[in-house]
């Protein structure tokens, strides 16, 4: 292999160089901008995590698995996984092979960074350097892999269902142009390398291709325009990259270390939230995930459109989308890159100004009498479904647990509805009131039956010396310890995962185990982290009664697929919402257990 062009330069590399310089400058600017937007302690935490060998190793592994191999997409759908990893990993390998070739054959040119990209143009093969054949084979092979991915991308545009997606996001104009440029890059590279294969050498694709084209065209005047076109396509793609969805390629490489450093969103538009918005690849997985997408009118309120509107700065739509969301967390659970849609929305709501702010200084909550070591907090929502509270207390009594029902006569709200409405100060005022009462009671265990309260207690309360436990976990422990005995009935239940308990707190198995011990249990089509929100969520501020009804119906349809006789759930809000439209009984697991349990002593 020898250098064909003595100067090592040709004007056709200029578009590529312009594009590359633009992208690099933009990314460096972006990195510093986001770093400076982070609060001081977050920035420190992030930078320290980069030099910590454990997180650094995790970062490298995650970047390799998520950005190049797309492991999560493979788990979701093999076709989708193959498409993405063939383009990403194939392209990476092409660039890597280009560098290896330059390093091995023309090491004097290693400092020219367009050389690996246009290697085949700049070299000529001589007889004694056939040892490049293996590398040429590899680069042809990976080009073929990338082209397979591109073909699949075309197919996906026409029939997304083959890739396990019912709906995909409608690409905006910039995304469309960048996408066409990306699609054109690889066929053009194949053509360019084919046309020069008789000079630079080629392998199983480019070699025969070159012979074929020479038979048809008879001369090689056409290879220069093709290299120009290849370079221009690269330039178009890279110049549009910062303004299109392909920004996710560089942004994800920064988001992964930030996630591993354990940073949280502090501002709706700055720092981590900004990075997540840039990382959104507009794939549209969240559209199928969103419970609101049962109504066509609400499709444009999914997270993918939130990130798009934030990038456009359309304040009116951002406010609408932020207010409508149920905060069920399913888009976040299924998101391939980890965009925290619900958190961005809550922060967005926090930015709103209110002229009246709530004040609870006039309220004094009497501390519950501290006879029992176990305190039970049913939450205000359970006032609509009072049998939950009664059942919980009855079960605790059966198991011989001394208990006090803290809010039997009505108490304060836990503060989560206030928090999700974006009014943190008011929510924390409620939190402090409740904290005082709980700590004054002298209890060491707090049993909570409402998942909304439970999540709030876990995330926002500081209760030193008090173990906060969801009743499903507590009863499961009682059964395991032999203090409660469950008798199986002949009913069959399907368990509905409440959003706040499942996706919010990661409790999936304990309620199922309890229901399974007191009755037969069936699974719905979509369950666990893919469970559908009941539609009653307090997360949504503006969703109307009618729109909620559609969501509830969709959630019920999903539960009906299990053919169970009755529905079990572990949330007073889900129970109240589902039973409004359900054709079969909806029971809380406390009611089921109370009916099926006997004390063991």
């Amino acid at each position: 292999m020898i250098d064909r062009i003595p100067s090592g330069f040709h004007p056709f590399v200029l578009p590529f160089l312009i594009g590359m310089a633009f992208v690099l400058l933009y990314c460096v600017y972006g990195i510093f901008r986001i770093l400076f937007q982070l609060p001081h302690e977050d920035r420190r935490k992030f930078l320290l995590s980069l030099i910590n060998p454990v997180t650094a190793a995790k970062n490298v592994r995650d970047i390799f698995c998520d950005c190049l191999l797309h492991v999560k997409l493979w788990q979701r759908n093999p076709m989708l996984g193959f498409m993405h990893s063939s383009i990403a990993f194939g392209w990476f390998m092409l660039i890597l092979l280009g560098h290896i070739e330059v390093f091995l054959f023309v090491p004097t040119r290693i400092n020219l960074f367009y050389y690996p990209i246009f290697f085949n143009y700049f070299v000529a093969e001589v007889d004694q350097t056939m040892n490049g054949a293996f590398l040429f084979f590899l680069s042809d092979f990976f080009l073929l892999v990338v082209l397979c991915g591109i073909v699949l991308a075309w197919v996906k545009r026409i029939r997304s269902r083959l890739f396990g997606m019912r709906r995909t996001a409608v690409p905006s104009l910039v995304n469309r142009i960048a996408m066409y440029a990306l699609w054109a890059i690889f066929p053009l590279r194949l053509l360019a390398e084919t046309f020069t294969a008789h000079i630079s050498g080629g392998s199983f694709l480019t070699g025969p291709g070159n012979w074929l084209f020479r038979q048809i065209l008879g001369n090689d005047l056409y290879y220069m325009p093709t290299w120009w076109a290849y370079s221009i396509c690269l330039c178009v793609f890279m110049c549009l990259l910062p303004f299109s969805r392909y920004m996710h390629i560089p942004a994800e490489m920064m988001l992964i270390p930030m996630r591993n450093a354990g940073l949280k969103i502090r501002h709706a538009r700055k720092g981590l939230a900004k990075l997540q918005v840039l990382t959104c690849p507009n794939c549209g997985v969240c559209i199928d995930a969103c419970p609101m997408s049962v109504s066509k009118a609400n499709i444009k309120d999914c997270t993918v459109y939130l990130t798009r509107q934030i990038r456009r700065g359309n304040e009116k739509r951002i406010a609408e989308i932020s207010d409508k969301c149920l905060l069920c967390g399913k888009c976040e659970a299924l998101c391939q890159v980890g965009v925290q849609g619900p958190e961005i929305r809550i922060k967005q709501r926090e930015a709103r100004k209110f002229n009246i702010s709530q004040d609870y200084s006039n309220i004094s909550v009497a501390a519950p009498s501290s006879t029992g070591k176990v305190l039970y907090f049913s939450g205000c929502m359970s006032q609509l479904t009072p049998s939950i509270g009664r059942s919980v207390v009855s079960i605790l009594d059966k198991a011989g647990v001394e208990n006090v029902w803290m809010d039997r006569e009505g108490g304060l709200c836990c503060g989560r509805p206030m928090l999700t409405a974006g009014r943190t100060d008011e929510a924390m005022a409620l939190v402090h009131k409740n904290e005082e009462a709980i700590l004054a009671s002298g209890a060491d265990t707090l049993v909570v039956s409402c998942p909304i309260c439970y999540r709030m207690f876990m995330e926002n309360y500081t209760l030193p010396g008090v173990r906060v436990v969801h009743y499903s976990v507590y009863f499961d422990e009682l059964v395991k310890a032999g203090r409660l005995h469950l008798v199986k009935s002949d009913l069959c239940y399907v368990y509905h995962d409440p959003c706040e308990l499942g996706r919010g707190c990661g409790i999936y198995e304990e309620p199922r185990r309890l229901v399974g011990q007191s009755a037969a249990i069936a699974e719905a089509d979509k369950s666990h982290k893919e469970s559908i929100c009941c539609g009653g969520s307090l997360g949504s501020l503006s969703l109307s009664f009618r729109q909620r009804e559609k969501i509830t119906q969709a959630a019920l349809e999903n539960l009906y697929t299990s053919k169970a006789d009755a529905i079990a759930t572990a949330c007073p809000l889900c129970q109240a919402t589902l039973s409004r439209y359900s054709d079969r009984p909806v029971r809380d697991i406390a009611e089921i257990i109370d009916r099926q349990s006997t004390p063991t002593t």
Binding site: R352, I356, L384, P417, S544, A576
Partner: protein, 106 residues
Amino acid sequence: MADFGFRLSKSSTLDLDRIDTKVYDRLCDTDPDARTCMACGSCSATCTAAPFSGMSMRKVILGLQRGQDVRPMLSNCMLCGKCTMVCPRGINTRHLILSICRIYDR
């Protein structure tokens, strides 16, 4: 005044020419379903804040229609959303409260 154990209640006469329904009108612009309230009081019966401040969504809407000051009542609302759950007219009362908190003049 001597304490008889009972007293005259304040006059509830409304002078319709003088009341200021600006807040109610602005509320109806943002949340038109406020007009569909039939004052059944389900919201008040389920209210978490009611025992503490006499908060009553029914009275809030009524008060706004009469141009009265409802701010003291709203000050204890915890946005728990039970009023929305039970409303037989399907009014999003929780959003109504947030809207009132926004449009009220400071």
